[in-house]
């Protein structure tokens, strides 16, 4: 099996072959060229079968561009690595490039989604944003990474789960579009943490039991008492530090945090649905991206979830997704129901007639 990026001139040459023996390859090349015209990327795989006939296959492929902001706050910065380019030797650039690829791989290989929008959208990243900038964010079109201050945070690309988290904000933007405030905002955050963790687990081939379930492992400096920013398995335990304080995430709805900051605590209350996902994955075992991840993916891309869904409505949508895919009496439905019960969320039921009297 030969894998490779076929340059356009070669694709054009293959597309013009009129030998019947190469008909499939010629057709594939024409499709690939059409994709190129639409600025969509595909992988064009060539191989020989047992009769030594040329076999061409088209596979969805990422179209990555990493730019360098050069410690300024202007976007997008200068392009430093494009799709197919060799590593450049700058850790942030190469980690971003590889992380974009690993995120693309999870969505494409496991859920059949071609990039963020499901239609091959190019994946863009900017690194070295700002001066000692302590953050990573999604601006609606690209993920942007700072280098950290060097005292508390080091560079944010060092954690694959952070990259998966940012790009998953893009997936949510093109699917469930959860409003970034209060409970729907915490769900938006949680979806990014869930798929950020799954990108990392899928890339490392880690089962539910092997995985750390941490978000942002490796982005604290050695000065900080903490392993990561968040834990899906045990929200509230990721760090406990003199300067930063203790990880404030709740793990149960009883401890829901009411605040005006951070859009109503979207990065805090995400601990509750995060833990629910972990409980579902733990109950089902194996690889979390397979069934638990599939149910969550079906939920955010499905017809039921609304942009202003609260925890209870989201829980109901996951139950519906699990029932549709695995059957209403399946182990998956039981696991989902138990997962939400474990964090104190009762799934919303269909509207009932108003009480009389």
């Amino acid at each position: 099996m030969t894998h490779g990026i076929i340059p356009p001139y070669l694709l054009r040459r293959i597309s013009r072959l009129d030998d019947a023996k190469f008909a499939v390859a010629a057709h594939a090349a024409r499709v690939a060229l059409k994709h190129d015209r639409e600025f969509r990327s595909v992988r064009f795989d060539l191989s020989f079968d047992e009769n030594y006939d040329l076999v061409a296959t088209l596979v969805d492929a990422p179209d990555r561009t990493v730019s360098d902001a050069g410690s300024t706050e202007s976007l997008p910065g200068t392009v430093v690595r494009s799709e197919g380019d060799a590593p450049v030797g700058d850790a942030a650039v190469d980690e971003a490039y590889d992380g974009l690829g690993a995120t693309f791989a999870l969505y494409s290989e496991v859920y059949g989604r071609n990039s963020i929008d499901g239609a091959g959208l190019p994946l863009n990243a900017t690194v070295h944003y700002g001066d000692r900038y302590d953050n990573a964010f999604w601006d609606g079109e690209r993920m942007v990474f700072g280098d950290g201050d060097g005292e508390i945070f080091s560079r944010f690309t060092a954690s694959l789960s952070v990259i998966g988290h940012e790009l998953s904000h893009g997936v949510t933007q093109y699917s469930a579009s959860l409003v970034y405030r209060d409970q729907s905002g915490a769900l938006n955050e949680s979806v990014s943490d869930v798929f950020g963790a799954l990108v990392e687990q899928h890339s490392r081939n880690e089962s539910v039991g092997d995985a750390s379930w941490l978000i942002g492992e490796g982005i604290f400096t050695d000065e900080v008492e903490g392993s990561a920013l968040r834990s899906l398995k045990a929200p509230g335990t990721a760090y406990d530090d003199d300067i930063l304080g203790k990880d404030p995430q709740p793990a149960h709805f009883d401890d829901f945090v009411y605040t005006d900051e951070d859009g109503g605590g979207v990065h805090l209350n995400s601990g509750i649905p995060n833990r629910a996902f972990y409980l579902v994955a733990e109950a089902l075992g194996g690889n979390a991206w397979d069934r638990a991840g599939q149910i969550w993916y079906d939920t955010i891309t499905g017809p039921i979830l609304t942009a202003r869904a609260d925890f209870s409505a989201f829980a109901a949508a996951t139950l519906d997704a699990a029932g549709s895919r695995y059957g209403s009496r399946s182990a998956e439905v039981s696991a989902v129901r138990a997962g939400w019960a474990g964090v104190g969320i009762r799934p919303a039921s269909a509207p009932r007639p108003a009480k009389i009297g």
Binding site: A136, W138, V162, E166, H169, Y180, G245, P248, H267, L268
Partner: protein, 127 residues
């Protein structure tokens, strides 16, 4: 202090007296919440009103009633900027993407002050 709860002390004149006796201080606080980490950091600067011309100029330069919203970005910082002075309080919530020009100058000035020690790890409840 003996008659501080006396009805008379709520008269306009009494209030005026108290204000005059209050130290006339201008305080600007910046609370930066959100971000990927969701960790709130706070900075503040205070100055006696009669020595606060520089700060007042920075405050007045900001477009207080017109702050752009940002409905698209995720994991960006949100700045709550509050100015307190006797009988005056002004506050604005500024998304990071709108923190440009005079807002940026003001926040940079406040951040120059040493950070407040022991910021609470959990934001204060709003209810």
């Amino acid at each position: 202090m003996g008659r501080s709860r006396d009805q008379a002390s709520f008269s306009p004149q009494a209030r005026e007296d108290r204000l005059i006796n209050m130290p006339a201080v201008l305080t600007i606080t910046v609370a930066r919440s959100g971000g990927f980490a969701g960790i709130t950091r706070r900075w503040s600067v205070s100055a006696a009103l009669d020595e606060a011309d520089e700060l007042i100029e920075l405050v007045d330069a900001c477009p207080w009633p017109r702050v752009a919203k940002d409905e698209v970005s995720r994991d960006r910082f949100v700045y709550v900027i509050t100015v307190r002075a006797p009988r005056k309080r002004r506050s604005a919530t500024v998304p990071e993407s709108a923190l440009t020009g005079p807002w940026k100058t003001l926040v940079n000035r406040v951040q120059e002050e040493p950070a407040e020690p022991a910021a609470p790890p959990t934001p204060p409840p709003s209810r």
